[in-house]
Amino acid sequence: MSDRVREKLQILADAAKYDVSCSSSGSNRKNHNKGLGDTGSGICHTFTEDGRCVSLLKILFTNVCIYDCAYCVTRKSNDIQRAAFTVQEVVDLTMNFYRRNYIEGLFLSSGIFKNADYTMERLVQVAKKLRTEHKFNGYIHLKSIPGASDELMHEAGLYADRLSINIEMPTENGLKLLAPDKNRKDMIQPMNYIKNEIILHKEEKKIFKKTPIFTPAGQSTQMIIGATKETDKDIMYTASSLYKGFNLKRVYYSGYVPISNDTRLPGLGTAVPMVRENRLYQTDWLMRFYGFNIQELLNDANPHLDLDIDPKLSWALRNLNQFPIDINKADLQLILRVPGIGLKSAQKIVGARKFQQLNWEHLKKIGVAINRAKYFISCNSRQHERRDLTEMKIKQFILAGSGSKYLKNNPQQLVLF
C-alpha cells in the first residue's frame, strides 16, 4: 500500500460518490465464525459536508468504461484520469477501514471494462475473498452490471448482503435519450432473477436449515432526478411499480448534479434539485410507512409535488373534508395521516391515550408539531382551531409560522414531516 493506492482511492471514490445509496441496514449477518464484523446496526460513521451519511466504503472498482451515458462522469467520452483497483487492494482497504471502525462495509460498483461479465466477475471475486478468506461478516453491497449472466448474479447473491441495479432514468424514453448503449431489459432481467432467487432461497430455508443465505438485505435501485423532463408522478409511479414488481427494499432518488455541457442535459451551474429530491423521499415514505396509496398523492390533476410544503400536508389540504379527526378515538391509520404527526408520535399517542384523555399539552410533549397538526385534529380541550379556514389560509398560516424551514432555498435533507 502506497501513494499509488492513495491516488486510486481518490479517483475511484470521486467517481462513485454520485450514487446516493449508502444504506447498510436490512441485513443481520451474525459474527458466527469468530471472524470480523456483523451487520444490522446500519451505523453512519460520519457525514460528508453536504450532510450525507457515510456508512460504507463506496468506490468503483474501475472508472474505465466502454459506455457513454450522458449523465455520468465516468462516460467514455469524458476526458478524465482513469484507474483500476486490484481485487487484493479493495480487500485490504475494506478490512483495514472496518477494523478501525470507519465503516460498516463495502459498496462496490464499477465502470464496464471489456464487457459485463468480465467486470461483474471481479466484483464477485472481491466479495468472495472477503467472506471466505477473511471471515468478513460486515456489509457488502454490490452494484450489478447490467447484462451480467445469471451464474454471476447467483454467486454475487451468495456473498453480498444487497444487490442493486440502477434503473437510472425514471422512464424508458429518458434512458434512450441519455444512455443509448443501455436498455431497460438488461436492468430488469437481473432484478427479476434476483427476486426469484430470493423467494426460492426463502422457501428452501423453510425445509433445509443449511440453505445458504442469499442477499439478506434484498435489492435496491436508484433513479436520477431532473436530468430529463419526467414529472414527479412519472417518477413515483415507476418507483411504486418497482417496489411491487421486484420486492425492492429501497428506491433512491438522486438529484442530478450537472457534470457536462451536453445539450440534452441541464447545463453546468444549474442547481441540484435538492428540495424536489427531499419531497420525493417524503412521498416514498408516505407510500411505504404511512399507508398512502401513490394515486392519492400524485395523479393527473396533481402531477407534481408541492415544493413549499411536504406531501402529507399537501394531501391533507386537498382533503379537508376528512378532518378534523379526534386524537383520542381515531385509528392509528388515520392519525398517521395528520400533518405534523410522525410515526413515533402516532404510536405514542395510541399508547398514551389508554391512560388518559390527551390534550394539547400532552400532544406537544409527545412531540407533535402543533402548529401544523392543530388544523386537522381535535383533542381533550375546549380550544381548537376555527373550522372555517380555507385550504389557502391554512397553508399561509403554516408557512408564516414555520420560519425558514419550508423556504425553497433552505433544504433540510432527510427531515421527514
Binding site: 470480523l36 451505523i43 453536504d50 400532552h362
Partner: protein, 255 residues
C-alpha cells in the same frame, strides 16, 4: 414523617440499595444524590447508603417482574446519564411502576415517565454516536485503541456491540473523563484503569506507539472523506447537526 436526604455511593448497586431502603423505611419525602452532589445544610435527616448486593438484587427482580426488557433498559440508561437529579426522577418512576397493576411504560402524560423516555433517548443518542465515531488506532502491541470522552457514561451500553463486532482483534476503549476503560483480549471483556494518564492527544500517529501502517490508513480515510463530498450539495448546517463540533477530536477525517 420528616424529610430525608439519601446519600448513595454513585454506583448502580448502591443506587438500587437506596431504593430498597426508601421502601423498607417507608420514607415519603426524599431526595437521592451522591456524596459529591450532596449539599450540606439541607434540612432534614441524612441517610447514608452502602451498596448491598442482596437488597439491590431484590429491587431489580421486583422491577423485572413489572417491566418489559425495554423498560428495564431505560432505567439503567437514565442512571448512566449522571444528570443532576436523575435519581429522583427514577425514584418517582419506580414508585409509579410498583403502585400500578398495569404497565405504566407508555403513560407519557406523567412527568416522570416522559422524562425517563427523553433522557433514555439522549443517552442512547450518545451511545449511537460513540458506536459511530470511535476510531481505533493499531498500536505496536497489536491492540486497536480508542480514547473517548462521552457526555454520559455509555461504556456499559456499547460494550456488547464492540464485543460482537470485533471478535477477532484485541481492542481497548478508554473513557478519559471517567478514567476507566474496557479491554477485549480475544476471549473476554475486562474493565481496566491506566496507572498513568494516557496522552490526551489522541490523534497521535507516532510510531513509538502505533504501527507503521496506521498513518497510511488514516491518510487513506481522510482522502476518502474528502473525495466523497459533493461540493455543489454543500450544507454546513446539516453537517454540524449530525457531527457536532465537540466530537471532531475523535474523528480522523476531521482533524
Amino acid at each position: 414523617m420528616g424529610y430525608h436526604s439519601v446519600i448513595y455511593e454513585g454506583t448502580w448497586q448502591s443506587f438500587l440499595t437506596a431504593i430498597f431502603e426508601i421502601y423498607e423505611r417507608k420514607l415519603d419525602q426524599v431526595t437521592i444524590c451522591t456524596k459529591e452532589r450532596f449539599q450540606p445544610g439541607v434540612f432534614g435527616d441524612q441517610l447514608v447508603i452502602h451498596a448491598d448486593e442482596q437488597k439491590a438484587k431484590r429491587v431489580w427482580m421486583g422491577l423485572k417482574s413489572k417491566l418489559s426488557k425495554e423498560g428495564l433498559n431505560k432505567i439503567f440508561a437514565c442512571y448512566l446519564s449522571e444528570l443532576d437529579g436523575i435519581e429522583n426522577i427514577l425514584l418517582a418512576y419506580i414508585r409509579l411502576v410498583f403502585s400500578n397493576d398495569q404497565s405504566i411504560e407508555q403513560a407519557y402524560g406523567d412527568a416522570a415517565v416522559l422524562r425517563v423516555s427523553q433522557v433514555n433517548r439522549i443517552v442512547h443518542r450518545e451511545k449511537h454516536r460513540m458506536e459511530a465515531f470511535i476510531r481505533f488506532k493499531l498500536t505496536q502491541d497489536d491492540i486497536f485503541y480508542a480514547a473517548i470522552e462521552p457526555d454520559f457514561n455509555v461504556i456499559p451500553l456499547i460494550l456488547g456491540h464492540f464485543k460482537r463486532r470485533y471478535a477477532d482483534q484485541k481492542w481497548i476503549i478508554y473513557d478519559l473523563k471517567r478514567k476507566y476503560g474496557i479491554y477485549y483480549d480475544l476471549q473476554k471483556v475486562e474493565e481496566i484503569t491506566f496507572a498513568f494518564t494516557p496522552d490526551a492527544n489522541i490523534c497521535d500517529t507516532n510510531t513509538i506507539y502505533f504501527k507503521e501502517d496506521e498513518a497510511l490508513y488514516q491518510a487513506l480515510w481522510k482522502d476518502y472523506f474528502k473525495h466523497v463530498n459533493i461540493v455543489s450539495r454543500k450544507n454546513t448546517k446539516l453537517h454540524l447537526q449530525y457531527v457536532p463540533k465537540r466530537y471532531w477530536k475523535y474523528l480522523v477525517e476531521k482533524y
